[in-house]
């Protein structure tokens, strides 16, 4: 049985006896790209697929689906909590842990279909013509995304149904992966400032990074308010820098490194570098890796003992 048909079988069971209202998975779009699919009817189940272009982090959609009145708003009395099923990769499953720790929804509201993932191909989620316009390799070339070359998990941490052969050993990270992080660390402050200003200069503040992010779920974004006294929502360089650095800071200890923000960026800003740098810092300071368990990030708790820093 292929992975696609296993996902379809799981979805069929879940929808048939009304365990969930929607199955969030992947389908093939009209131009051949793989895209998110929201399956609510049994007749649509055939649309669900799995391939190495299933790059989207579908946990992004959970908050809106499970809290239809808006985040933190209770349902009207008498209504049963919403339930949804979601297809996740190893990285996405860590996002579920973060969202659970932050009480966005209950674990019972969720049926997680975990897929053992062999890595997602570079250029996934884009139609072929766009891929060649961006000079990205063909899907046939088999080049994995950078995050997948670094991945050490492969098997989801959270799941109710596991699809695919469980890998006993975490796959070693790709040895030849170029590390931009170390290259930047080696620069002088002036060079780094120039590098980042050149990156942020391209930002058009479309907020695609924020929309694609499962952790960016504030009801009203701090960086998109025109009544703020000291956070600008304009397109000046310092305002754009504050947006990107501030967003990275808000994700510190929460970002699970799915790199969707970077993938969806139309201006190709290497946003994931900021997130990775902070993940290193948070792990060094607090010994915390986001999403490994449903525990809150370190910034919302007090110091464990005076002057310990931890």
């Amino acid at each position: 049985m292929t992975i696609s048909s296993e996902i379809q079988a799981a979805a069929r069971d879940l929808l048939a006896d009304g365990q969930v209202e929607v199955v969030i998975g992947y389908e093939l779009g009209s131009r051949g790209r793989t895209r998110p699919a929201f399956i609510t009817e049994a007749r649509d189940i055939e649309r669900l697929v799995w391939n190495q272009a299933c790059t989207h982090n579908l946990t992004t959609y959970l908050n809106a689906r499970l809290n239809p009145g808006g985040p933190g708003k209770p349902l009207p009395p008498g209504q049963a909590p919403r339930r949804a099923a979601v297809v996740v990769k190893a990285c996405d499953s860590r996002a579920i842990n973060v969202l659970l720790a932050e009480n966005h929804f209950e674990r019972e509201q969720l049926h997680v279909i975990g897929v053992v993932c062999e890595g997602i191909l570079e250029g996934a989620g884009m139609a072929g013509d766009l891929r060649s316009a961006r000079q990205l390799p063909d899907e046939g070339s088999g080049q994995l995304q950078a995050r997948c070359q670094r991945c050490t998990e492969r098997t989801p941490l959270v799941y109710d149904t596991l699809v695919g052969e469980r890998l006993a050993q975490p796959a070693p990270s790709h040895p030849s992966a170029p590390d931009d992080l170390q290259r930047l660390e080696a620069m002088s402050p002036v060079e780094r400032a120039e590098f980042w200003l050149a990156q942020f200069d391209r930002c058009i503040r479309c907020y695609a990074c924020r929309q694609a992010c499962p952790m960016c779920n504030c009801p009203s974004c701090l960086y998109e308010r025109d009544d703020s006294l000291y956070v600008g929502m304009g397109i000046r360089l310092d305002e754009k820098r504050t947006f990107h650095l501030g967003r990275a800071f808000h994700l510190a200890g929460r970002c699970i490194g799915c790199d969707e923000c970077e993938r969806v960026c139309p201006m190709e800003i290497p946003i994931s570098l900021l997130n990775r740098r902070l993940a290193v810092e948070v792990e060094a300071n607090f010994g915390h890796r986001a999403g490994m368990a449903p525990v809150p990030p370190p910034f919302v708790s007090v110091l464990s003992s005076p002057h310990s820093g931890g």
Binding site: L184, E185, P189, V190, E191, R192, A193, E194, F195, W196, L197, D201, L222, Y230, V231, G234, R236, L237, D238, R241, T242, L245, G246, A248, F249, A252, L274, R277, L278, E281, V282, N285, F286, P298, F299, V302, L303, P306, H307, G309
Partner: protein, 161 residues
């Protein structure tokens, strides 16, 4: 002429601001480069506020709060103690010299400690020279001009002095 850095200090009203008062009462000398901003708690100093301070032309930002365990709000300074080092790492990664941002603790009676920290910090920032964090691109100049015309250049009037 020697470079005079512009230093903004966020002082917690319960400890560090009173500590600055103690320094004054004791007639201790500390550099006049310091502009004190009184905040209810060092936990109020958000990362956006610190970045904004540098955006507006500060050469150094000093955040002073109560010692751990002495916070008026119990754990406000715990938040600061966790946040600022990570923000410092982030801003360093984005091109700021880490010495330009400093978090320290000063209690209400520690006037001498306050003066010492301000002296150390000011001399450190003076050695670094003017801060490059606030850079303008050519295309931003017409926005600045528009602001000046609108008379809306908040905080800029002090920057020229």
């Amino acid at each position: 002429m020697m470079f005079e850095p512009k230093i903004i200090a966020y002082l917690c009203t319960w400890c560090s601001y009173t500590g600055a008062d103690s320094a004054g009462i004791a007639r201790l000398k500390y550099p006049s480069n310091l502009r004190a901003v009184r905040v209810p708690c060092s936990g109020r100093v958000s990362p956006e506020l610190i970045m904004r301070t540098f955006d507006q032309g500060a050469d150094g930002v000093l955040v002073l709060g109560c010692h751990i365990g002495e916070c008026h709000y119990d754990t406000g300074n715990h938040r600061t103690a966790k946040r600022v080092p990570v923000l410092q790492a982030l801003m360093t990664f984005a091109g700021l010299e880490p010495e330009r941002l400093r978090l320290d603790w000063v209690s209400a009676s520690e006037g001498e400690r306050f003066a010492r920290i301000v002296n150390e910090f000011t001399e450190g920032v003076r050695l670094l020279g003017p801060c490059a964090w606030r850079q303008r691109r050519v295309w931003e100049q017409h926005l600045d001009l528009q602001d000046a015309l609108d008379g809306a250049a908040l905080g800029e009037a002090g920057g020229a002095a």
